[in-house]
Point group: C2
Chain length 411, copies 2
Amino acid sequence: MAELIGAAIIGQSGGPSAVINASAYGAIRTALDSPYITKVYGAAHGIKGVLDDRLYIMDEEDPAELELLKYTPSSELGSCRYKIADPDYDDTDYQRILEIFKKYNVRYFFYNGGNDSMDTCNKISKYMMKVGYECRIMGIPKTIDNDLYGTDHCPGFASAAKYIATSLMEVYKDAYVYDTGMITVVECMGRHAGWLTAAAALATEAGAGPDLIYLPEVNFDMDDFLADVNRIYEAKGKCLVAVSEGIHYADGSFVSEAKTAATDGFGHAQLGGLASLLANTIKEKTGAKVRGIELSLLQRCAAHCASLTDIEESFMSGKTAVEEAVAGTTDKMVGFECDRTNGYECKPKLFELTSVANFEKKVPREWINEEGNGVLKPFIDYALPLIQGETKLPKENGLPRFAHLKKVIAK
Amino acid sequence: MAELIGAAIIGQSGGPSAVINASAYGAIRTALDSPYITKVYGAAHGIKGVLDDRLYIMDEEDPAELELLKYTPSSELGSCRYKIADPDYDDTDYQRILEIFKKYNVRYFFYNGGNDSMDTCNKISKYMMKVGYECRIMGIPKTIDNDLYGTDHCPGFASAAKYIATSLMEVYKDAYVYDTGMITVVECMGRHAGWLTAAAALATEAGAGPDLIYLPEVNFDMDDFLADVNRIYEAKGKCLVAVSEGIHYADGSFVSEAKTAATDGFGHAQLGGLASLLANTIKEKTGAKVRGIELSLLQRCAAHCASLTDIEESFMSGKTAVEEAVAGTTDKMVGFECDRTNGYECKPKLFELTSVANFEKKVPREWINEEGNGVLKPFIDYALPLIQGETKLPKENGLPRFAHLKKVIAK
């Protein structure tokens, strides 16, 4: 493969994670060190930064601050949820991207995000091939939802999983402290795939976790749910439940959007989210003391509780993307291939962008118990290696010291 | 003071904290090591364990597991919210307590909790003096609310403060990631005192925290609040707000209990709590994208993010209580006296149980800005030394390894 010399752009998009910046740092650091890459730009707010000609010059950043990206949550370059058009119908955006690529002699493009971002990356890659502009384009995956097709797991999932399991262990300790009855419902993210909620089972495995776990992979039934909760509550006087935000009835309608007579007879949509809705429904039926807790944004940005394994793998995916591109690879996503037969080994693996974009990987049905209210050992064996190791996030005055970038705009 | 030989009981009560067990461990360890204390019992669920004759024999525990109490959240002996009667009206409970004290030759009683617990401790102390039963009784403070009178601060506050500030820094990073508008409201605990919510200002001081902070020490005005939020949002396109669950209108009614037309025209009480209510009111008025986050139980049990200073001081308060009691002191609470003039120094200080019970210490008005929407430097100077240092909580398989006690019941 011919040597390709030119600038690189790195962009981030989609929802934040605790380690998406670790991936970006893997790409930025490796690109800065590459003799083939003449300049490294960070796109402000993903592809919108390219369209708007807002590129940060990474070469101008203090190397020590850049390194702190390994421990800084959220997308430091800024994110977007911009849905790029199908180029067969409207190639305006693509023409503009090409214009910017030519302006800065961009020959390497790295896009760091989830499902939609891989779709964007794929479309840009195919367009550049079609118009014959030589540019090596690589996807660097990220999603706490862990739903990207092909790869063993996604950077970001493990840190959110570690936070969820840790928090559930602590909530368990808290919820079990009184000798009076208590039912606690904890809502985890995951609209279509239950990976994050399943991570609550790691707390149970550690001896202090939920009694019941409900994922969107199984149709939800309110009567079964109430019977399950009541059975545990009658036996133990307590019940801790983890539910995915995406649980839905057999007809596909989200439980979170249901209007239940128990909570508001006038049919208003619930304001407090799923955890409140379920807690109120349980209270209505059992009379027990209940509490609903939504982990909300905390679960996707808790860098202070990140998995070191996740940080290192995220860095590796960004680094590999640049190394592979410089060596001649294009139009691929850098995922992982893992071997758990004898300990745990994780290696980067390339996937066709076409094959990963817009597919969703769900928790296998056989990893969920028959009743659909718990997670089985294969999931534990899958997830446990991923949450190992503690972040080395430095502290200043007892609080996290995150990266401060200068973000010098390219002219 | 005459030597007093006999057994000790340690009980915990009130809401959990990340470090109440560190205090209990300080007392238990010191009592186990004391030649004057013949046996050490842990009361199951506070004073209810004494009334029910359910005492755990601490001498039977593995010392290494006991030591893990320093890092284990919530009240490991179990808590209660039992309100003991006024002995002048009904001394049934006190007679029973005396009976149990005599049964086990209890000569030392340590009670670990907040306001109500100090009241319980005080009443038992005064009763035992009245009936002439020699028993040294000491209060060991705990409350994340930091509202105990006299002491510089309360064990438990700092760890919750550290968690709140850390989480707000992370939420700030997350909330600022898109280039579209976003208003985020985070609700912290604190029904009558704003100490915990004020801790959010530590995040702002560190460069990534809330723009606005509302405490119950200042009457809340919805119009002023909406104007404040809108002003920041217009200027920055974002706004991060921290509110105390206890904010109230000038007439004393809690904002969380208000029925606003914006949220439910039929006057139903809100289900989703204060954060949801405010987020929805803002959305109604500004049309901005909003998110309400309730830190809920997480903030009081997040042992993984505990302050080492808090852990060590909590241990010290328990240890001092036993040392003082053995030396002859009784009827006191072990609080703290701190010197911040040259660094930070914290020493135990004894307070009369009568003086601390049932008083509430609030954030001084002069530590809050004139507008009542922010916290000033004196608070930062007060709180910052308290959150220093990281917990040494051991991990097992990537998750917290909390104490496992055998809890052998005394016959």
